[in-house]
Symmetry: C2
Subunit: 216 residues, 2 copies
């Protein structure tokens, strides 16, 4: 079922770029490594980058830094979680029509702290698998002490929208005659060669999650 | 002069990662293509990704989408502008100690709309040169009409801090003996082959700003 169009998610500008289908929103969330969590404390807006993971219709947000600010709040807090993937620089013939190709998602809702052990474990697993699939089973599992020390926010995916820009620049009709190169410079986040921990015993093989990273 | 440590920018968690030197904060701002602008309207937090540029001790923020929401506000609005550069996945021996290498900056302040023609022109130029140096002089310059149609927010860089994580994972001492590959998988945003606009006359050479992109 698509997300409902609400006052908050209905785009005021360029409404044609607003997308509410879950099968467009979820892949954007799942591709991003970092989300930006916005919340308000005493009238002051804060925006904190942090790791996250999606489990079905719920976002788990790594909340150590955020929870410190929110610990006095019971019952959750209104947040806006935004994820942005940059796909390219859009170079038009006019300075004015330069743009970026991107895919972004904005989620509104009330986030609450996760307290129970099982949900926290699911969240930690989601953080891990979100970043690098298969890694969870390679690493030592969390102890109860570590689970207690991990602050996790939970946000239901009830109200969300995506914005997507793709394709070439859109210039004013009369500018197409200008002798200026125009087009798109694609951008992509790529992984380099794995750098072993200096304390790793010599000859330790790179694990399969790392070898397979980016091949899925 | 360094940024002052304020209540808002003093990190509550892992304070050793907080950095207030302008010569660390500015290069992070200048390397990012997108910032996330947080603001509050009627108690509701919003986080909007948008282009921006820095001119000396001031951020200019591309504000078309934001200004629509803020047009009723005179005298500016409190914002939190966050920029995040992702440098790598930090793969520890324990699930708990997985992390990300990143550089982020958080700026607090009161943003106001830019009205005068000269400042708007400076801001548009900053947006353009920020994304791809040299492009501004290649493209058709903005008309007065286009300048009027561009909404720009201006934010003084008075209160800001950076957070930086680099280096290998930090595992619990007893976990270093585990037979698990650990280290860093570096991540980097790279440009692909320029894609010419379909309406570009055949034989139009790629402009020098595009050729030089990423070589500086």
């Amino acid at each position: 079922m698509d997300f409902p169009k609400t006052d908050r998610t209905t785009l005021k500008r360029l409404p044609k770029r607003g997308v509410y289908e879950r099968d467009i929103v979820y892949p954007i969330l799942d591709e991003a490594f970092v989300c930006h969590v916005g919340f308000t404390v005493g009238g002051q807006p804060f925006v904190i980058p942090t790791g996250f993971g999606r489990v079905d219709e719920r976002l788990y947000i790594h909340g150590s830094q955020i929870s410190r600010m929110l610990r006095t709040l019971a019952g959750g807090i209104d947040v806006c979680v935004t994820v942005t993937l940059l796909d390219g620089l859009v170079l038009a013939r006019s300075a004015f029509h330069h743009s970026l190709n991107y895919r972004s998602v904005v989620v509104f809702g009330r986030a609450s702290m996760v307290d129970d052990r099982e949900s926290k474990l699911a969240a930690l697993r989601a953080f891990s698998e979100h970043v690098i699939p298969g890694r969870w089973d390679e690493a030592r599992q969390p102890t109860d002490q570590e689970l207690k020390a991990t602050a996790v926010l939970s946000l239901p995916l009830d109200e969300a929208s995506a914005k997507v820009r793709t394709g070439p620049p859109i210039d004013d009709e009369e500018d197409y005659a200008l002798p200026v190169w125009a087009g798109v410079l694609p951008l992509r986040l790529v992984a380099g060669t794995p750098v072993p921990d200096p304390r790793l015993p010599e000859g330790t093989e790179v694990s399969s999650s790392v070898l397979q990273f980016g091949n899925s």
